[in-house]
């Protein structure tokens, strides 16, 4: 059984011009210890999916309006806030894109790490401090003892993101959600942070949901990949399978030119998602047709009027496309 099973999740936001369906019947699974990458253009609902799992939506404006989020047998979507507090930081942790602003400027690093430990683990004062020190060592922060007494403004962006990782992993969570953890950092620091993440997740046998724009990162870090479009899963499967043989026109478009698998993260130019003409539509009601059809070179009348079913292409490779058979022959996105 999967560790996390998001099933038909819908999340909506109340806005001035009515409701927006940021996530529309989205499904994904993560197994124990597995790293799942989630990719898609800006605004396609990656962060909202992650925040829904953590139940960190800005309620009451944003809320889960359907589906379930099963984590180890319980449905997170229906837990009370009090029950959810025992999950956050303990079972599931999250790190965010903005290391510069994600730490509290008024509290010491020590305070910010130890409060999580004290909250969730049954340790005495010395044990708590020991754990904080140990975490800073694990994320390879030099002079950890001195760092404990410092405040965030005394640390660089890369160091702050390491502290965020230390906080997130301090209680040995079973799942880490990393929402573009390196986007705001410069390239060499990105590689270091990703190394630390990969190293720690395998050491703690922790599952990771890694949200990213960077296909190089996907190839390097993840076992499986989910591609999202307009709040829905459009394709998923093993990273190698999907990157070398995309079966959804959207994925093929994103890949543009597929990065060579196994290419080093630090060496050579990194592959961002390719540009596709057009923009992600704003979804207001449950979709009844393929949302990608207006931008899709393969779109037919069926695509424009009927919601494509999820089809299994082989093994765990899934695609939600009426014309998935024709994707390998598409002019764009030819696999290398």
């Amino acid at each position: 059984m999967a560790l996390l099973h998001v099933d038909n999740l819908s999340t909506s936001f109340k806005g001035r011009k009515g409701e927006v369906l940021a996530v529309d019947r989205m499904s994904l699974q993560i197994d124990k210890g597995e790293t799942l990458a989630v990719v898609g253009e800006s605004g396609c609902g990656k962060s909202v999916t992650a925040l829904s799992v953590m139940r960190l939506l800005p309620e009451p404006l944003g809320r889960i309006s359907g589906g379930s989020i099963r984590f180890e047998g319980k449905d997170l979507a229906t837990l009370t806030e009090r029950q959810m507090r025992r999950v956050r930081g303990r079972e599931i942790s999250m790190i965010f894109q903005e290391p510069m602003t994600s730490l509290n400027p008024a509290l010491t690093i020590s305070r910010q790490i130890t409060e999580t430990v004290r909250l969730h683990l049954d340790l005495d004062a010395a044990g708590v401090r020991q754990r904080a020190l140990e975490m800073l060592e694990l994320v390879q922060i030099p002079e950890p003892a001195r760092r404990l007494t410092q405040y965030p403004h005394e640390l660089s962006g890369g160091m702050r993101q390491r502290v965020m990782i230390a906080i997130a992993l301090a209680c040995d969570p079973k799942l880490l959600i990393a929402d573009e953890p390196t986007t705001a950092l410069d390239v060499t620091v990105q590689a270091q942070i990703l190394d630390i993440l990969r190293d720690l997740s395998s050491r703690q046998n922790m599952a990771t949901m890694l949200i990213t724009h960077d296909l190089g990162v996907v190839a390097e870090m993840a076992e499986r990949l989910v591609v999202m479009y307009a709040g829905r899963m459009v394709e998923q499967g093993k990273v190698a399978e999907v990157l070398s043989g995309p079966r959804h026109p959207y994925t093929a478009g994103l890949l543009g030119a597929v990065p060579k698998l196994g290419s080093s993260l630090t060496a050579g130019p990194r592959k961002a998602l390719a540009e596709i003409p057009g923009t992600v539509p704003l979804v207001r009601a449950p979709q009844t047709a393929c949302a990608f059809a207006p931008r899709c070179p393969l779109a037919t009348d069926q695509c424009r009027t009927e919601l494509p079913p999820v089809v299994q292409i082989g093994g765990s490779h899934l695609s939600a496309c009426w014309r998935t058979e024709d994707v390998p022959g598409m002019a764009i996105g030819a696999a290398s």
Partner: protein, 313 residues
Amino acid sequence: MLSYALRRLLAIIPVMVVVALVVFSLLYFSPGDPALVLAGETATPEEIARIREALGLDRPYLVRLTEWSLGILHGDFGDSIFFGRSVAELMAQRAMPTLWLSLLAMIFALVLALPLGIIAAWQVGRAPDRLAMGFAVVGYSLPVFVLGYLLIFAFSVWLGWLPVQGYKPPSDGLWPFLSHLILPALTLGVVYAALIARITRSAMLDVLRQDYMRTARAKGLGLWPMLLRHALKNAAIPIMTIVGIGFGSVISGVVVTETVFNIPGIGRLTVDAILRRDYPVIQGVVLVLSGVYVLINLVVDLSYGLFDPRIKY
């Protein structure tokens, strides 16, 4: 830190000099003659002139200003025209009731305003927010004497729980002391509380939207550690600032409150002095209260470093 505090302390001197100059000149050039008040309705012009001479009121502006300023440097604020006693002594005698009153008012204000502001921010746009801000608007716009008489009517006359007026020193026992102070302190504290509650709400609203508050939630923290440990500390600087600036409302409120509740403090001393044109007393009181206000704001400034580690002196 220490050198900063010393520098700030020194910077108070020119401020106080200006205040002293303004106070003295304003009273000097304002109409009204203490000799007239002292001499009474039936006095002859000769009698009045004699009194003026005896009090030194007939001497020129600069002479009197110099004399007064030199005295203050020695802690001598001159003598009261009406009581014939030293102003410093009079103020010392009246200081305690006012000190207790404003201290209690400050405590009431903070105890009332901080939770209101915090809850309003947390429940922004909902009933508790509307209620708290409604209270703030009413509290801010209700004149002090109206509120004072309303409270007296409700709690003293109608319910009979608290004494109507007067003051008892702490040496008379805790309850007599407190029971006489509760209503005046509330009266005095409400405007201050309204001010603090509004700033607390807006400062907290600002903090609650920050990324680090999302991090705090993601850690699994409960509501109160989040609001108090993570949010309030970051909102503290604007709140402390208004605590300092708003203290002016306490100082000005003291005059009315002490009159309404018949408390023999600095405020009453001031009112009486004004009615009697007892200039040395008015000057002394204004100077001392200005000093208190400036000092409180200095302490507030120095407290910023406690809340924001990025501030270094």
